[in-house]
């Protein structure tokens, strides 16, 4: 196990180096002259030169690359170009906001989708099954954008069930007042594909020999479903849930923009609009690292959930 872990971590190094190279070349080589962006619309030659000197842009490219690598490992990306806040402070401040919304979405989506998937798989092939699958297909084909725009207008503006938008400094106010509508709308969008996927996992397992054996020895259908089938179907379901984790940190760009939630997603979109490269660079690199760690975690989880899996 530990040799496996060590080797996997060793294998991550080239990928991580690649991500860093990609981000570096994307922003430092193709990204245009940051000094010109920073100096603003009316910039004198001296000002641009001063900024170039300050950012180390006059140094050869490998020195700049080295600066970037040091930035990544010291968690010090300097200050945002537009607000002059430290990038690390921005990330630490915004990530919990995104998570306040997205963790709830993630949990509720898992609970609702798994429950419904098992319930529908009980009656596979029946009218209920086909009706639910039909609704899922229809729901999936409508753009997230339309759900958000119409949902905000209908539920918040017209019916006044929720505030139209906003965010406060108090965690409980956010959870009880501002988060429910975004969460509800995101659930509308995310449950349909999850439900379809999980149903296919469960149905695949119900056809296996062990399920038949369990029924043959007289286990009730409930016991077959929840003890035998769900345990086996849990492997792909947990994988799927874990792989969705890195996305949670970014939150949903759309939902954060539309509802004015000051999370990471909104920060990234604003940074893109303002050409605030340090913020985008930092978030991209750290999320890639996080995603790699999650991938490793998934493989280890596999082993725990299904002892037959050989880790090589």
């Amino acid at each position: 196990m530990s040799t496996y872990l060590l080797r996997r971590i060793w294998q991550m190094i080239p990928t991580l180096a690649g991500v860093m190279l990609l981000v570096f070349f994307l922003f430092n080589v193709f990204g245009g002259d940051p000094a010109a962006i920073l100096a603003g619309k009316v910039a004198s030659k001296e000002k641009i030169d001063a900024i170039r000197e300050q950012l180390g842009l006059n140094a050869p490219i490998w020195v700049q690359l080295w600066i970037f690598v040091k930035q990544v490992f010291t968690f010090d990306f300097g200050a945002s170009w537009s607000t002059n806040e430290a990038v690390s402070a921005i990330i630490l401040q915004k990530a919990p906001v995104s998570l306040t919304v997205m963790l709830q979405v993630w949990l509720l989506d898992a609970i609702v989708a798994v429950t419904l998937a098992v319930a529908v798989a009980y009656k596979r092939g029946s009218f209920t099954d086909r009706a639910v699958m039909g609704i899922c297909t229809a729901a999936m084909s409508i753009s997230l954008l339309l759900y958000v725009v119409v949902g905000q207008w209908l539920l918040a503006y017209k019916l006044e069930w929720f505030p139209v938008l906003g965010w406060s400094d108090d965690f409980w106010t956010n959870v009880s007042t501002y988060a429910p509508l975004p969460i509800l709308l995101l659930l509308f969008v995310s449950i349909a594909p999850s439900l379809r996927l999980y149903r296919s996992f469960v149905v695949e397992e119900t056809g296996q020999d062990y399920a038949r054996t369990a029924r043959a020895k007289g286990a009730s259908e409930h016991r077959v479903m929840f003890v035998h089938v769900l345990r086996n179907a849990a492997v792909p379901i947990v994988t799927n849930l874990a792989l969705a984790l890195p996305g949670l940190f970014v939150g949903s760009f759309l939902i954060e923009m539309v509802f004015s939630i000051p999370g990471l997603g909104k920060e990234i979109v604003n940074a893109v609009q303002r050409s605030d490269f340090p913020v985008i660079k930092a978030i991209t690199v750290y999320l890639a690292m996080f995603a790699m760690a999650v991938n490793l975690l998934v493989d280890v989880l596999y082993k725990r959930l299904d002892p037959r899996v050989e880790l090589k």
Binding site: T15, L22, L26, F30, L145, L146, V149, R196, G247, F253
Partner: protein, 343 residues
């Protein structure tokens, strides 16, 4: 004389399977209409004047008539005071003696004034542009972005996948490294990072989506090439001295082309959805142009004013296209690649 019926070729058989399905035929009919209209808009035959202010601001849709409440409509509660210039006015107006001269001079620049219409077929937007023309033009932009970026992504994915799968070894490892890099960053974040660097514009959106979206195709084609390269027909081609390039693209490629077609179809839908979201966030198509995403972007303040027709139009038009294309992709996959699992 009885003659044995020759069995159909692969494409013919797949085409027949697809045609036999009523739903597939219906989807194809819908898609053909969309592509024809988009093509006509691209040639400038229809919706050329989408940017003209042909109606009043928020003109009502024709089916509601001009009696439907509209601040600028006939039954408007706001009425303009018209100043009547009579003798008493003229006595205090310093310009009064010059009116005739002014009017005479102005006549030289007389232009036929287009009276903005109170109603438009599907209503008007804030600037009085015809929503019907707009949605056609927007469809042309969105569909062509989806098609072009999907072609680019599939091209990159196929070439890299073919190289990686066919040669393997060091080159294969290098390409796998590329693949790992691109897949370790969440997709939408990578799109935004590319968008941040390359700026705005139609061609940028195409490049960004194409450069970021090739990974799925690469994975699929690479696996397929690894499977195919040991087959007898490739050995036979090798025996008669075919070059690597010939074996890869003349011998093997036709055998995986059905997968490429399905992939292309899938990516068009995905990229149209992505473009809509990018444009909505203000990172895609520039605002002097129009796309479905930009139309939805304009909708939010309109809804508050009770002007729902632009939203309804774009929602119906876009959803119909996406649903038809999505269903068509599924059916195409069933017809071309029966073994593929459907999720």
């Amino acid at each position: 004389m009885t003659q044995q019926q020759a069995s159909y070729g692969f494409w013919r058989a797949a085409g027949k399977r697809l045609w036999a399905d009523k739903l597939a035929r219906f989807c194809m009919a819908v898609l053909v209409v969309y592509f024809l209209v988009a093509g006509a808009a691209g040639m400038g035959w229809v919706a050329k004047d989408w940017n003209e202010e042909v109606g009043v601001s928020y003109a009502n849709p024709s089916f509601l008539g001009d009696d439907y409440p509209n601040p600028q409509g006939k039954n408007s509660i706001i009425s303009q005071d018209v100043l009547v210039i009579d003798e008493k006015q003229k006595a205090v107006d310093p310009l009064a003696p010059y009116y005739e001269e002014i009017e005479k001079n102005a006549a030289a620049y007389e232009k036929a004034e287009v009276k903005p219409s109170w109603t438009l077929p599907l209503g008007g937007d804030k600037w009085g542009r015809d929503v019907f023309d707009k949605v056609i033009k927007a469809g042309q932009v969105s569909i062509s972005i989806g098609l072009a970026s999907a072609l680019l992504a599939v091209f990159i994915g196929t070439v890299l996948g073919a190289l990686g799968g066919y040669f393997g070894g060091k080159l294969g490892d290098l390409l796998e490294w590329f693949y790992n890099i691109f897949t370790s960053v969440p997709y939408i974040l990578l799109v935004l990072a590319f968008a941040a660097v390359f700026g705005k514009g139609v061609s940028t959106v195409i490049l960004v989506l194409g450069f970021v979206g090739w990974t799925g195709t690469y994975r699929l084609i690479r696996a397929e090439y690894i499977k195919q390269r040991g087959r007898d027909y490739v050995m036979a081609a090798n025996a008669i001295g075919a070059s690597h390039g010939r074996k890869m693209f003349v011998h093997i490629l036709p055998n995986v082309s059905h997968l490429i077609l399905v992939q292309l179809s899938q990516l068009v839908v995905d990229f149209i959805k992505a473009e809509v979201i990018l444009s909505f966030l203000g990172l895609g198509v520039p605002t002097d142009s129009v796309s479905w995403g930009i139309m939805i972007n304009e909708v939010m303040p309109e809804l508050v004013l009770g002007k729902w027709w632009q939203l309804a139009t774009v929602a119906v038009v876009m959803s119909t296209f996406v649903v038809s294309f999505g269903l068509f992709t599924d059916l195409l996959r069933d017809a071309l690649d029966p073994k593929a699992s459907r999720r």
